[in-house]
């Protein structure tokens, strides 16, 4: 039932896992190798830098596993949910002819493959950047160079465990989603009491905009996260530039944030478009213009983006102050808000938002009632 082609559609999950594994494995490997050293023989300054780098690696791990990892779980839930919704009629028929919920949902174990691929690529990318990363971390540390040793525990914990966990979670969530009568699945009727209620606005279009926004609560999280990637991490790469971090760190942070932000935003808008095709085609049939349809669909997410970007800005300031605190005994770092960084990150986000919305605007032009319903 679920094919490799279907899994390709869930590329967003692989990508989020890739980013989490890359960052997590890189900093965790360094931390474990660092722990091999005996700090008692270091002078005070080297000892302080050693401690600060250990804490920094721990913090990056928390961000990678906590923030990006948690987001990967949300992406999995979202991908499974989308797959069930897209194929609900087929699943309803399977249930109607006697397949149990478990027999159908067990196929969702394959979603673990997305996590496995993302994890493997992330780990390989980590191995590829280890020499440059270690050289960067060792530079001017004042204590013996940390050297990379391969530990099986790292790929096991960062690649195999997530793949297994995601497989199980996929099955579990699909099982939960399939707990509806076969007829409900075939007809596509909402579960009793599950119809998302309308959010009243001043006009019909503002009501529709608000309703679309709150109809897909998880997408608020996605768009907010994409804005946070730009407002937080992209901006942070510029803010930290003021600390004299190497170009490698700058580009590592910048590119991961951009790629993560772009793919998450694309994923969210693609789902939004698919889920509201019927609404849009109906609006078009009645004579609403394409621009009105796009506003009704994506307009509500503008305010979500503004909030996400603002939260990201505050978040990156918080992280920077945390880094200053970690390295206070080693170096005197002072933070000044990067106005250029703010506007570049904002500009990049607005550009990304506009390009993706324009892409779906073009797709919307081809939408007809016949194709949508």
């Amino acid at each position: 039932m679920i094919t490799i082609k279907d899994l390709r559609k869930a590329f967003g999950l692989s990508f989020v896992v890739l980013c989490a594994v890359y960052l997590g494995a890189l900093f965790e490997s360094f931390r474990l190798d660092q722990l091999e050293l005996d700090p008692s023989a270091f002078d005070e300054l080297a000892k302080a830098l050693y401690e600060a780098q250990l804490a920094q690696a721990k913090m990056m791990n928390i961000i990678a596993l906590g923030v990006i990892g948690a987001f990967a779980v949300v992406t999995l839930v979202f991908s499974v949910s989308k797959y069930v919704d897209d194929n609900r009629a087929n699943m309803g028929i399977l249930k109607a002819i006697g397949y149990t919920d478990f027999q159908i949902s067990v196929k969702f174990v394959l979603f673990g493959l997305n996590a496995l691929v993302g994890g493997l690529v992330g780990y390989l990318a980590c191995l590829a950047t280890v020499p440059a990363f270690y050289a960067e971390m060792n530079e001017g540390s004042g204590y013996p160079a940390v050297t990379f040793s391969f530990r099986l525990s790292v790929p096991l914990f960062y690649v195999v465990v997530p793949a297994v966990a995601f497989s199980l979670l996929g099955v579990l969530f699909a099982y939960r989603k399939l707990k509806r009568s076969p007829l409900d699945l075939i007809r596509g009727t909402e579960r009793q009491g599950k119809t998302k209620k309308m959010k009243e606005g001043k006009t019909f279009l503002s009501t529709l905009r608000k309703t679309v926004l709150f109809r897909h609560g998880s997408l608020i999280l996605f768009v907010g996260f994409a804005a946070l990637c730009f407002g937080g991490t992209v901006q942070m790469s510029f803010s930290m530039d003021g600390f004299g971090v190497s170009p490698m760190f700058f580009w590592m942070m910048f590119l991961i944030a951009i790629l993560l932000g772009v793919s998450v935003l694309y994923l969210a808008f693609s789902f939004l478009f698919q889920a509201n095709k019927e609404y849009v085609s109906l609006l078009k049939a009645f004579g609403y213009s394409d621009a009105e349809c796009v506003k009704a669909l994506f307009g509500g997410y503008v305010s979500v983006s503004v909030i996400g970007f603002a939260v990201g800005t505050v978040y990156q300031i918080g992280i920077i102050y945390l880094i200053i605190e970690l390295f206070k005994d080693v170096a005197e770092l002072t933070y000044t808000f990067s106005v250029n960084g703010f506007f570049i990150a904002l500009g990049l986000f607005v550009f990304t938002f506009a390009v993706i919305a324009l892409y779906f605007f073009k797709k919307l032009k081809l939408l007809t009632l016949k194709k949508a319903w």
Partner: protein, 229 residues
């Protein structure tokens, strides 16, 4: 007046081209109630979609008071639909997350109409304004879709098998509402059906088969109570 001239439409399924409309010509007078009658696959729904501007045709022309809509750009066609037409579909096509009132507002908004409650009352849905489609019966949902269509004050109303999903009693009531509104507001009504009895309600019956018109006759319309089902 709608003038349809030698309209052709084909669909491609892989390498096979399937000709659905084979050079149809027809004239519909303003305020007329025309039924397109024919068996499944005769091309009546495709014809309805083509003359209403929902689908592009391959050849021929569709003129509204002399203006050929087939030559219009997408933006002009949207403006045309906005101003002139409305639709009632067999599957209702209501927005499930919006209340009955807000579904009707979708049509009313296009003509700047604020109060839609009288329209819901006119189709017998007083007190059900705040209900969601899932909380309404099939007949009530179809009445919401009629109110939505009427709300935009169309010159031409297209109805594709509007009673197709309804039981006899609900279907009859729905037709009463629809025809009363059409007569009262002098709207041109083009309805697709495969039901001979329903066709007897129209001013004119156009029979279709295999993508062609096989007969086009004036009719003395019967009332809903006079027809069988």
């Amino acid at each position: 007046m709608i003038t349809v001239n030698l309209v052709e439409k084909s669909y491609r399924n892989g390498d096979v081209e399937h000709k659905v409309l084979k050079g149809i010509s027809l004239t519909i007078e303003t305020g007329e109630f025309v039924v397109l009658l024919g068996p499944s696959g005769s091309g009546k729904s495709t014809f309805l979609n083509c003359i209403s501007g929902l689908e592009r045709i391959d050849r021929g022309s569709v003129c509204y008071d002399g203006t050929d809509i087939t030559r219009m750009k997408e933006r002009e066609l949207t403006a045309f639909r906005r101003k002139k037409t409305a639709f009632v579909f067999q599957a209702y096509y209501l927005m499930p997350s919006l209340t009955a009132e807000m579904n009707v507002r979708m049509g009313a908004n296009l003509v700047g109409k604020k109060d839609v409650v009288p329209l819901l009352e006119a189709v017998g849905l007083k007190g059900k304004e705040k209900k969601y489609p899932s909380q309404l019966s099939g007949g009530e949902q179809q009445r919401v879709s009629i109110a939505r269509a009427i709300a935009k004050e169309p010159e031409v109303l297209f109805a594709d098998e509007p009673t197709g999903a309804l039981d006899e009693e609900t279907g009859r009531n729905m037709l009463r509402y629809l025809i009363a509104l059409q007569r009262e507001r002098k709207i041109t009504l083009v309805m697709v059906t495969h039901n001979e009895n329903i066709a007897c309600l129209a001013d004119r019956i156009v029979r279709m088969n295999s993508g062609r018109i096989i007969s086009d006759e004036k009719n003395s319309p019967k009332t809903v109570d006079e027809i069988g089902w």
